[in-house]
């Protein structure tokens, strides 16, 4: 029996799809059978982040309307053989799949997979409602910025209203030098304000961009701090107790500032 997890945020561009792709690869690497469902119909990206864009035959809308079985639409990852993608349609819109249809699809898939991760579109409209309908719990992704935290708060409220009260927080794109200089919301502030359990603190990392370029999620890159942070989230999802990474890179300038107390 699997866990169905929706990755959501309210605001666009905070890293939902990046997080879904990385957690999917990480969970699969640990031997889990994982399905990723893209529900960002009309704006699909998850296939690109995983390097699977050329292998799509059918999509979520075909499965939802009963035209084909989910097994036929699943794309298996070449390198991570227990990782599967159920892509969505790029030409239809968010009204093409209902919450009940997604619940039915997930219920059918639960027997086969250990984890089903749902990549949610931005916003709080139909697409969001469809994406969260089937989820056992939610991972809310935010960034240390006022607009992203406000939207995360809104999403937490919406999840509660939909009786989804198992919620975990991931704070993405943390710029540690700005946190150190006091010019970015820090983790204590965000935890204080949102008051939900945090399972991830991911630094802003250029390797996220280069790995996206290649279609290989950054979690496979041992040198990347963001990759390590994602790997730790995977461990926490699997129930391990892992301390948060120290994201601060101390430069000579930082040390000088420390000595001068400025």
């Amino acid at each position: 029996m699997s866990d169905v997890i929706v990755v959501t945020s309210g605001k666009g561009g905070v890293g939902k799809t990046t997080t879904t792709a990385n957690l999917g690869v990480g969970l699969a690497k640990r031997g889990n059978k994982v399905a990723l469902i893209d529900t960002d119909t009309g704006l699909r990206n998850l296939d690109l982040l995983l390097g699977l864009e050329n292998r799509i035959m059918y999509d979520l809308v075909d499965v939802a309307t009963g035209r084909i079985s989910y097994k036929k639409a699943l794309v298996r990852h070449k390198k991570h053989e227990t990782l599967f993608l159920l892509p969505t349609s790029q030409i239809r819109d968010k009204t093409a799949v209902t919450g009940q249809q997604l619940i039915d699809i997930c219920n059918e898939m639960r027997g086969e997979f250990d984890y089903i991760l749902i990549d949610c579109p931005a916003g709080i409209e139909q697409g969001f409602k469809t994406a969260i309908a089937a989820a056992d719990y939610a991972i809310v992704v935010t960034m240390p910025e006022v607009a992203a935290v406000r939207d995360a708060d809104k999403i937490i409220g919406e999840l509660n209203r939909a009786d989804k009260d198992r919620i975990k927080l991931v704070v993405n794109r943390i710029r540690s030098h700005m946190v150190d200089s006091g010019d970015m919301l820090d983790m204590d502030d965000i935890n204080d304000i949102l008051a939900i359990d945090c399972i991830g603190q991911v630094p802003d990392d250029e390797m996220v961009v280069t790995s996206t370029n290649r279609g290989e999620p950054v979690i496979s890159n041992k040198k990347s701090l963001a990759g390590q942070a994602y790997n730790n989230i995977v461990g926490r999802i699997c129930g391990e107790q892992i301390p948060f990474l120290d994201l601060r890179k101390k430069t000579l300038f930082d040390k000088l500032k420390q000595i001068l107390h400025v």
Partner: protein, 97 residues
């Protein structure tokens, strides 16, 4: 960097922007979470004016009401400039003595 220089000269009155962000978020989320429309706030204001006016002359235009964050609970703050207490209020209080 400029702030670091200012600090050296003992001027530390400008808050780091991260803290400004935190404080602004706290206030805006109180309103978001309460889900009260400006219209409702105006109704509350009118009703308060009605009640208070029987006892006092108040300056309605400078009156402010707002929600604020008060140690994990939300408080409704009303600031109502009073011009004078109406005489009949004072005399009725005297009568009760």
């Amino acid at each position: 960097m400029l702030r670091a220089v200012m600090k050296l000269f003992g001027r530390d009155d400008d808050k780091p922007s991260g803290k400004i962000a935190r404080d602004r978020l706290r206030v805006v989320l109180i309103h978001d979470r309460a889900n009260i429309s400006p219209e409702v706030v105006n109704h509350i204001k009118d009703d308060i004016i009605k009640v208070i006016s029987t006892y006092m002359d108040i300056n309605q235009h400078d009156m402010e009401i707002s929600l604020s964050d008060d140690d994990n609970s939300v408080a409704l703050l009303a600031s109502i400039p009073v011009k004078r207490i109406k005489p009949q209020v004072m005399s009725s209080r005297n009568m009760h003595r």
